[in-house]
């Protein structure tokens, strides 16, 4: 239980700032053959995805049913990757020192947002106008979702990239100072004349906080736009006020999961093991557990109100999305997003390992896919979205070859984008780590060594 632990300080605490910079930069610059092999395989898979996409294109935009799995892939990447940026933002707001090693890992997901923005484009042709059907745009022009969702997602991508760039400026300067030739020129440009002056640090801190807060709010709004315009409003009779919030919670949930999985891969395959220790996995696993419970709570609030209401329109929605037509993806989502992570992570002894949180996080990522699938595939299988209630329930839309290719290709493209971006931005935020070295100490207290965390302000 709550006993006095006598933790050994993280191994990198003995390093000087200079040693840390050198170590991270050295690993950053040498990618290794394995990296490029994986990148090549992902590139190949992405190529397959392009073939799948062409196959979908050949069927045209008129039959929405064709695009259900494509929309799921887009939504899944949005839910997981674009929410992942938030983890660093939220932990920085909460002034959690343990976030430092994973700050960049989280912010780097902003580049996946850019990739996903391109995936949005074809969906704009698939999405029907809002005239004559229910939407959050009420009597605005029929193309409002097309315009505003593009602007919203675009702003989110720009904001995420700005946050990534802004929060890496000191590290870009570090790379600049250790590089030569053309590489130095590129990083000189990206370092924006950073010399580490006090006023530059003040601007950096203010900028990172502001962009973070803006990203947070924008993300919640875009979750609402995507979830309603690309799913809920296409299904007649589906009026669910909590759905956008549930969609966002599902995003935060899988965001924690993807960061845990990324950390585990980095530990396993790169030399960053000493920076990503049990402390990070343990702390994130508590968040993952809390978000699994919240996932259930938000799902339950929506389900309960419908189930208790017993109106024909509500029951048909429950049957369609949960208990009959799309029951398999729903049960899978429920077990993988809530029950399994809950059962694994309720044990502190498991949370305090590397494998426990990683296993739970991997399962959550699969669960999130099925969760997205049970919303987006059925939403695109409905022919007439202007009806008042779901009178005719369309059959289950099983994925075809093109769909599977698109899913694999989309996910491979997202991972590849992330991997390539990690070649540009050091995946461990050096300046935050160095700040941590200054602000965290081990100190003797009576008979034990204890961690002391500075809380400036």
């Amino acid at each position: 239980m709550h006993e006095l632990h006598h933790p050994a300080p993280p191994s990198y605490w003995g390093m000087t700032a200079q040693e840390l910079t050198q170590d991270v930069l050295q690993r950053h610059e040498s990618a290794g053959r394995q990296f490029w092999t994986v990148a090549a395989v992902l590139g190949g898979l992405f190529g397959l995805g392009v073939i799948g996409f062409i196959l979908l294109l050949s069927e045209g935009f008129d039959d929405r049913n064709v695009w259900g799995y494509y929309a799921t892939t887009f939504a899944y990447i949005f839910i997981v990757a674009q929410s992942a940026v938030l983890i660093s933002v939220a932990l920085r707001m909460a002034k959690a020192h343990w976030r430092r090693p994973l700050a960049r890992i989280s912010e780097l997901f902003a580049v996946v947002g850019l990739f996903n923005f391109f995936l949005l484009v074809p969906l704009l042709w698939v999405l029907p106008v809002t005239d004559g059907r229910r939407s959050i745009w009420f009597n605005w022009p029929g193309h409002s979702p097309h315009i505003w969702d593009t602007i919203g997602l675009g702003l989110l991508v720009v904001c995420g990239l700005a946050l990534l760039f802004f929060a890496s400026v000191p590290d870009m300067a570090a790379v600049r100072d250790h590089a030569s030739g053309r590489r130095q020129n590129i990083y000189r440009f990206m370092a924006m004349q950073w010399t580490g002056m006090p006023h530059q640090w003040r601007k950096l801190n203010a900028g990172v906080s502001l962009l973070g807060a803006f990203y947070f709010m924008l993300l919640v709004v875009v979750h609402m736009l995507i979830s309603v315009d690309f799913a809920m409003s296409l299904v007649p009779g589906w009026k669910d006020a909590i759905f956008p919030a549930f969609h966002a919670i599902s995003g935060f949930h899988s965001a924690v999961a993807i960061i845990i999985v990324t950390m585990a891969i980095l530990r396993w395959k790169t030399g960053f093991k000493k920076y990503l220790e049990v402390d990070q996995f343990w702390s994130l696993s508590k968040l993952l557990l809390a978000l699994s419970l919240l996932w259930f709570y938000f799902w339950w609030s929506g389900f309960f109100t419908y189930w208790y209401g017993r109106q024909p329109a509500e029951i048909s929605i429950l049957k369609f999305l949960m208990f009959e037509t799309y029951n398999i993806p729903f049960y899978l989502a429920f077990v993988l997003s809530f029950i399994t992570p809950f059962v694994i992570l309720m044990w502190n002894i498991v949370r305090k390992t590397i494998w426990g949180p990683t296993l739970a996080a991997g399962i959550v990522l699969v669960g999130t896919f099925f969760n997205a699938m049970r919303f987006y595939v059925p939403a695109y299988s409905i022919e007439d979205s202007s009806l008042h209630a779901l009178d005719v329930v369309p059959p289950f839309n099983a994925p075809g070859v093109a769909d599977i290719l698109v899913i694999i290709g989309g996910l491979a493209g997202a991972v590849l984008t992330y991997m390539l971006a990690s070649r540009i931005f050091p995946i461990i935020s050096m300046w935050e780590m160095k700040e941590g070295l200054i602000l965290q100490r081990m100190r003797r207290f009576m008979k034990i060594q204890i961690k002391v965390l500075a809380k400036p302000e």
Partner: protein, 458 residues
């Protein structure tokens, strides 16, 4: 910036037990004044029971008015306790220390007060026994256990029991301090209540484990309470605007918003009354205000969802209801006041760092929030009922009577009085926590400055 002063254990004991051992004259005057208002409330309730519900403004179709609004309001305030105490304890937020006890105590008293509301609202409180026993003994007709109205008392009672336990567990070491400093019957009382506390390592360990376990167990209860209160409304199909899937989290986060605001109000008053400037410092108020910005914005998001999806399907009756809430007097005035007081004014003020460290402005904004949140419950409950029927000639209105206003006012006096009476018997800032905070506080030298720091046990 922190304004921490190093205090010795003796000094902490002296300061924090001041409310118990030194009673200023105004204390009795204030408690007496509040007592009179409470008595007036009792008299009004007695009159109402004698004359029947006809003396209230309740009438077809609006059968839920001030009492139920007040019930939801006080249940909301009670959410401060767990939010601050349990969650902040689990996340090891240092600035929670002076706020936990006040928050927990506010939880207990506001829950008790909230529970009087449905009793009074029942008109004939003895009929409440039908919640447990059959309506009709001969035929065994029981209350409908599938109704949220029946789960409600169960959830609230569970929450009350666990909150009392929560307060008590945290109080035990402080009661032992009191035991050692009192004589006569008070010594006997504190001796019994302190459960033989000696402050041994084993006892502290048990106390710590109990606190953490209770924090974790109480969290689901805390969420369930306001969720079920929301389903009192959400599961009703016949009232426009109530059957919304977002109601449960919307109510919970609204409760946290109003509850934490109320805790800040109480803390500021305590700081001023008992001169606890060294304990309830500006950095604590500042941190709470920052938390409130996040909570308030989260709440506003849920409010927006509730409103947007009310209109989403563009159904006539729903639009008519929203139109009434927003554009027709007196609802229009209430709606604008609600928006301004619960979100726009306070949050825009809290964004300014100087406001977060200004006592009069903080007390002003936190009181504003609770005015707004009371109105919020009122405009959720009453307009929907007023338009409940299909035919316009069966529509109704609602004007609270003097009896209802008196009883509702008395509940505010009751909670304040109970908190003051509690402060006379037990310390409102946990001594052990304050001392622990002193021990765990440290400083790290960075360059030329000393930066405040905290020791972490794990």
């Amino acid at each position: 910036m922190q304004e921490r002063v190093r205090l010795t254990d003796a000094q902490i004991n002296r300061d924090l037990l001041r409310s118990i051992f030194e009673t200023p004259k105004w204390y009795f005057l204030l408690v007496g004044f509040l007592g009179i208002i409470v008595l007036l409330g009792f008299a009004a309730a007695g009159y109402m029971i004698n004359r029947g519900l006809g003396v209230t403004g309740l009438n077809r179709p609006v059968f839920w008015g001030f009492f139920i609004t007040n019930f939801v309001f006080w249940i909301g305030i009670s959410h401060a306790g767990v939010m601050l105490s349990a969650i902040l304890r689990l996340v090891q937020a240092e600035w929670r220390r002076p706020a936990t006890r006040a928050a927990e105590v506010l939880t207990v008293f506001s829950l008790m007060t909230a529970m009087t509301m449905p009793l009074i609202h029942a008109g004939r409180p003895w009929r409440v026994m039908y919640w447990v026993f059959p309506y009709d003994f001969a035929r065994g007709v029981y209350p409908n256990v599938r109704s949220a109205l029946v789960w409600d008392p169960a959830a609230v009672f569970t929450y009350l029991t666990s909150s009392i336990l929560f307060v008590y567990i945290a109080l035990v070491p402080d009661i032992a301090v009191l035991r050692d400093r009192t004589t006569g019957w008070r010594h006997v009382l504190y001796s019994v209540l302190s459960l033989g506390w000696r402050g041994s390592v084993r006892q502290w360990k048990l106390q710590l484990i109990a606190g953490i376990l209770l924090s974790a167990i109480i969290l689901p209860i805390f969420v369930s309470v306001h969720s079920i209160v929301s389903w009192d409304f959400g599961s009703a199909m016949s009232v426009e605007g109530w059957h919304s899937t977002v109601f449960a989290p919307y109510f919970v986060i609204g409760a946290v918003h109003s509850g934490v605001s109320a805790v800040v109000t109480v803390m500021i008053i305590l700081r001023w009354m008992f001169k606890w400037e060294n304990y309830i410092r500006m950095e604590h108020i500042d941190a709470l205000a920052k938390l409130l910005i996040v909570v308030a914005t989260g709440w506003f998001f849920f409010f927006a969802l509730e409103f947007i999806f009310g209109l989403y399907s563009l159904e006539g009756p729903e639009i008519a209801l929203r139109e009434m809430q927003v554009f027709q007097m007196p609802w229009k005035a209430l709606f604008i006041t609600f928006l301004l007081t619960s979100y726009v004014i306070p949050v825009s003020m809290w964004l300014v760092p100087k406001v977060r460290r200004n006592i009069p402005l903080m007390i002003f904004t936190t009181i504003l929030v609770n005015i707004g949140m009371w109105i919020e419950r009122f405009i959720i409950i009453v307009p929907g009922l007023a338009r409940k029927q299909n035919f316009t000639f069966t529509w109704g209105g609602y004007t609270p009577s003097l009896v209802e206003i008196t009883i509702v006012t008395a509940t505010f006096a009751l909670v304040t009085m109970l908190v003051l009476l509690f402060a006379k018997v037990f310390p409102l800032i946990p001594l052990g926590d304050a001392k622990e905070g002193m021990i765990l506080h440290d400083e790290i030298k960075i360059g030329k400055v000393m930066v405040p720091a905290v020791m972490r046990e794990e």
